[in-house]
Symmetry: C2
Subunit: 338 residues, 2 copies
Amino acid sequence: MTDFTLGSVISSRIRLARDINGYAFPARLQSNKQAKEIIRSVSAAVNKLDEFRLYYMDGISEEDAQSLVENHLISPALLRRPTFSAALINEEGNISIMINEEDHLREQCIVKGLDLRGAYEKMSEKDTLIGQAIPFAYDEQLGYLTACPTNLGTGLRASVMMFLPAIAIGGMMPRVIQSATRLGLTVRGAYGEGSSATGYTYQISNEVTLGVTEDNIISQVTAVVDKIVEMEASERERLKKGSGSLAIKDKCLRALGVLTNCALMSSEEFVDLCADLKLAACLGYVDVTDINAIDELIVKMKPSNVNLSAGRKLTSEERDSYRAQYASKEISKIVTRN
Amino acid sequence: MTDFTLGSVISSRIRLARDINGYAFPARLQSNKQAKEIIRSVSAAVNKLDEFRLYYMDGISEEDAQSLVENHLISPALLRRPTFSAALINEEGNISIMINEEDHLREQCIVKGLDLRGAYEKMSEKDTLIGQAIPFAYDEQLGYLTACPTNLGTGLRASVMMFLPAIAIGGMMPRVIQSATRLGLTVRGAYGEGSSATGYTYQISNEVTLGVTEDNIISQVTAVVDKIVEMEASERERLKKGSGSLAIKDKCLRALGVLTNCALMSSEEFVDLCADLKLAACLGYVDVTDINAIDELIVKMKPSNVNLSAGRKLTSEERDSYRAQYASKEISKIVTRN
């Protein structure tokens, strides 16, 4: 039996925005002296936790910085003023704390699958320890004070990355977005605000941070995600039985064919073909040992990660060639035709 | 070592145009009484040879007739007046004699590879026997008299089907055509007069039939084909070493990927992808047990042949699905990645 819910939730992400009493918000910091002070004190607080490594944004190579962006550990915004900013990243690579991005601290924890509560607990534990060492800007009435009013209160953004090929192909995405919006949630393309969705991947997150508890937010996002998973499952069933099913199967199988037989592969095409390959797995046309491995491969095959893996800055064609060879070998290992 | 001449000659074809004394040319035959008389007498002459089967064009199904066209055993023109025309085809399927096409007899022999002389000898042997039974229209000065003056004299058309991907990709085809024309030869797309070349496949044949011996014609066409094979080989070497080689390799490998991983495949796409797959073999990117098997598969996968193989008239989508499954299985058997 095909499991029509396979892979529809990629990951859950908790983000806490925190600022420090006695400092202007990062955008208003005048000197990098103060910025470095903030970095040092956050770092000192976190280093007691003894599992984090500090990266000064003006102390790492462009390639290393871009790789952190590709790995979703920092935002591109953190690189705008590298002399002001830094990031603390744990060994496991699932918790990162950006310093002097929009807020003094942006604490983030990402876990696989649907587990916002688990991610929140992991992040909250660290947040409490940091809060004991650093005086967070906090108001009894409002809650946490943040640079942008949209983060006021809990400072919590709970997001779930979803893979929704059947809803997207069936043209149901506008309806999903409308329903989510009515419930105070936002649906975005996978690559953040303003991006159009690539690879059938969407991010569902809460809009409201004020006047609700952390628990409310997590429960509500989780409930909506559960509903969307159900809807995606029934759309997949329709997609497999419907009149256009052979055309879909054809597209899916061709993706496997090209991914495992090519000599050049751009980053963009790779994302699209991997999405079709994942759809093939979701509809039972191929077997994958681990569908997450495909998402990890997508990240691993982004330009800066490829350069780091190859050990030097490749030309664009060299990178497309490296990606074609590496990815085709890896995909052959984890995917088999049904 | 890659053999850069692999597959550049697909097949050699000899065609003799003959007409019978005492009958108007087919286009001028008024009644099908006379047409049937001609069919009977040719058939009687040939049946002494005891290996041919007679197909009346008004006695076979549309599907069977189209299949004969797809197998290059008859021309589409033979089907224009089915009550007038017939074809005698030998068991091996390499000799066919069309009756009442443009001429009373169009005798044709096709052999694999470059062997015009071999094909001519096979055909000539039958032609002599037929000529002993039937009074061919023949003039001591002019030679064989034919419906169209372009066939006067020997009535011989010696054609070679060539696979010239590197010359075509390198943009050298106009030069080849120009040189061939200067030598009195014609270069056409694979599917006869007026067709544009598909699948890098071209037909080289003599233009002049009058005032030369059969031997002259065969020697000249063979010599030109040899030259073109050499040119194709050096273009292939350039293609493999040149700046765009990775893009070519990519296209070739993707063809293999799609051919062996798809659920729908049109006849046209199949021809194009098979051409890229053959190019992959020519450049040493894949190994094929037998490159002719791919050409045979192209013929086998044409619409009417697919219907006959499936045992009923399929819809277009059913045919594309049948082709995808059948071809992908066959290609997996004969092709391996290098």
